[in-house]
């Protein structure tokens, strides 16, 4: 993929960090404000897509990016299922909220919901980026 002009690159350099932090904010406040793991994950994936589109990439990098994306996607899924399993192990019911609930409207509250949000964000972010790579990569990526 070819990169874009200097103007786009400069602007991207400035905004990319803010977008990333905004994504993190959406994820971490998922149990307090609108948004959450899915929306935040999409924003995080957007950061990677923006970087790839602006600065371009080589086929080799795309391949390794796709591998990493698929690993992170699995980790996100595993984290989510593990949280559910932990409920079964620690409190006897699948998916039970086994952590202390905390004070409502504080960052550290709502038990397992923030952890689930983070897991979903990893899964959605990595998954969406992998989809983008599958559609836009220079060479068709087949792993063996």
């Amino acid at each position: 993929m070819k990169g874009m002009s200097l103007i786009v690159k400069t602007v991207t350099n400035i905004v990319i960090g803010f977008i990333f932090i905004y994504g993190l904010y959406i994820i971490l406040h998922g149990h307090l404000t609108p948004g959450g793991g899915f929306a935040g994950g999409v924003i995080i994936a957007g950061v990677f897509v923006l970087k790839l589109l602006t600065f371009g990439s080589k086929a080799k990098d795309e391949r390794s990016a796709s591998t990493q994306a698929s690993v992170w996607e699995s980790i996100g899924g595993l984290l989510f299922v593990s949280v559910a399993f932990l409920g079964l192990l620690l409190a006897g019911t699948f998916f039970i909220n086994f952590l202390p609930k905390g004070t409502p409207l504080h960052l550290l509250s709502a038990g397992i919901i923030p952890i689930c949000n983070i897991a979903i964000a990893i899964k959605v972010g990595a998954g969406l980026f992998a989809i983008f790579l599958a559609l836009a990569a220079q060479k068709y990526i087949i792993e063996d």
């Binding site: 698929s70 595993l78 998916f95």
Partner: protein, 500 residues
């Protein structure tokens, strides 16, 4: 009752673990998926044992009580379906090891296989309508990808056709869920069933039922909506054809519609004879149309695909008869069909693997070269036709008994005569592929493939010989669970007031 969520969680967990394991050491992937399928089978047997004592087990996800939270409602019918799913998934996973050796990226196959298993398990044990839709989509999406797994032109085309048809069904289902939610303000199946009784025989009642049946008929590939299946089964890798034909369409279409018709909408032969006659008509249409068309097929797998559609018609016929024996026959038929058609598609995979083609005009002389495959085919075919000691016979027998008891003598005769259709088209394969003398370079199937096929053969014979045990402990309670009708919702809500 902590085993119930494991049916979904175990395959889901391994589906996410497989991409990571695949990076480390590839053979582990196959081992994991086969082991998970085996553990599911053991859990399913345990589940059957539990369902002998407690006819309805309700599991609250995250301890939220119904109708607010999502529940898993596990009764004898679910126990039966879970058992059948785990058997077929185990055989397919076993078979895939050598079959997939010619495909690239073959560990991804097991991710999709496990996702599909999780989806199917979810459909049969959930007690929530929207949850059912989600699991249906999980299983359907992975099956779209699996059909296209070979990445050749015809496979992509078949998969595309399947996606379009499948998503029409999925979206109609979603629309119906929205309508039901708007009317009843609940998504819990038991709650919906209670609420719908106040709207019984209104336009809304029949319209939602019709839309659901439309969606499920596409998923089950009943005759007017069967076109996706004819491309999808031949194009998919053989283990997946086996899984799709053996169990997927039954779970997506037949289980869901049976559950909806009997337990949620609470229809019964006695009160709604017209509707049940309609089901019989739909079943007969599938049997006759697909059975006759199968004669003109020259492709091994496409012929089996037609045969599959025709067999699904028999299941619907059993449900349409609607008395105990009819429903029992239909449930036994699900078991018989899963084992036999799963086996037949596995033999087709073995033939493709060794001879490289599925055109029955070009194949010959395989009966001597591949004797395990040939005999597996013969046993499976005999069960489909309905030879006495095999399970296929008893399934048809109960449907015929049901038809006679319900006063439909002509249906009993028709079901018997139409079985001959399957004899005719399966003999075409037997004659051309296995009996015909000819030079063939084909090697015998690899060991794991033979194990998978022999496993299913043994099960077909065992289940057939011990049919009385199956009826007493597995299929009979499942039929009772369906015929219990609206009591389903009482049992779900009463579960928590009972003490254990």
């Amino acid at each position: 009752m902590a085993f119930i969520p494991l049916f979904i969680a175990l395959p889901l967990f391994s589906a996410f673990l497989i991409p990571i394991l695949g990076k480390i050491y590839k053979p582990l992937v196959w081992l994991l998926s086969t082991a998970v399928a085996f553990v599911l089978f053991v859990l399913a047997l345990y589940g059957v044992a539990v369902s002998q004592e407690i006819s309805m087990v309700v599991y609250k996800m995250g301890n939220w009580p119904p109708p607010l939270g999502i529940v898993m409602a596990y009764d004898s019918f679910s126990a039966f379906m879970v058992l059948v799913i785990s058997i077929i998934v185990f055989a397919c996973s076993m078979f895939s090891l050598r079959f997939l050796s010619t495909y690239t990226g073959n560990w991804k196959f097991y991710t999709l296989l496990m996702l599909m298993t999780a989806g199917m398990m979810g459909i049969v044990i959930t007690g929530d309508l929207f949850n059912m839709f989600v699991f249906l989509e999980i299983a359907a999406l992975s099956s779209y990808a699996l059909v296209a797994f070979g990445l050749k032109g015809e496979q992509l085309e078949a998969s595309f056709k399947y996606i379009v048809m499948g998503e029409i069904a999925g979206l109609i289902f979603l629309l119906t869920i929205a309508l039901i939610y708007a009317k009843t303000s609940t998504l819990n199946l038991a709650d919906i069933s209670t609420a719908l009784q106040f709207a019984k025989n209104t336009t809304f009642f029949w319209m939602t039922l019709g839309m659901l049946l439309f969606a499920f008929s596409i998923k089950a590939a009943l005759v007017p909506f069967h076109s996706w299946l004819l491309d999808a089964y031949p194009a998919a890798p053989a283990p997946i054809s086996s899984l799709l034909a053996g169990i997927c369409t039954k779970v997506f279409g037949i289980y869901t519609s049976a559950r909806i018709i009997f337990n949620i909408f609470g229809l019964s032969r006695a009160n709604d004879p017209l509707f049940f006659n309609f089901l019989i008509g739909l079943g007969l249409l599938s049997i006759i149309f697909a059975g006759v068309t199968a004669f003109s097929q020259n492709d091994y797998k496409r012929l089996l695909a037609y045969s599959s559609i025709s067999q699904v018609g028999f299941i619907l016929l059993g449900f349409g008869i609607g008395n105990y024996y009819g429903v029992l026959g239909a449930i036994l038929f699900i078991l018989a069909h899963s084992l036999a058609k799963g086996l037949l598609f596995l033999t087709s995979g073995s033939v493709v693997h060794s001879a490289g083609t599925t055109d029955i005009k070009k194949l010959s002389g395989l009966g001597e070269r591949m004797s395990t495959t040939a005999w597996s085919f013969r046993i499976g075919a005999l069960s489909v036709i309905g030879m006495p000691p095999l399970i296929g016979f008893f399934a048809k027998l109960f449907i015929i008994i049901g038809a006679i008891k319900a006063g439909f003598l002509w249906i009993a005769i028709a079901a018997g005569v139409l079985s001959l259709l399957s004899l005719g088209y399966l003999l075409r394969i037997e004659n051309n592929v296995f009996m015909k003398k000819g030079k063939s370079e084909a090697k015998p199937a690899p060991f794991t493939m033979r194990v998978a096929m022999v496993l299913l053969v043994v099960l077909i014979v065992l289940v057939g010989v011990g049919y009385q045990t199956i009826v007493d402990y597995i299929a009979g309670p499942a039929a009772h669970a369906l015929l219990r009708g609206l009591e389903y919702s009482h049992m779900v809500f009463n579960y928590f007031s009972m003490s254990f």
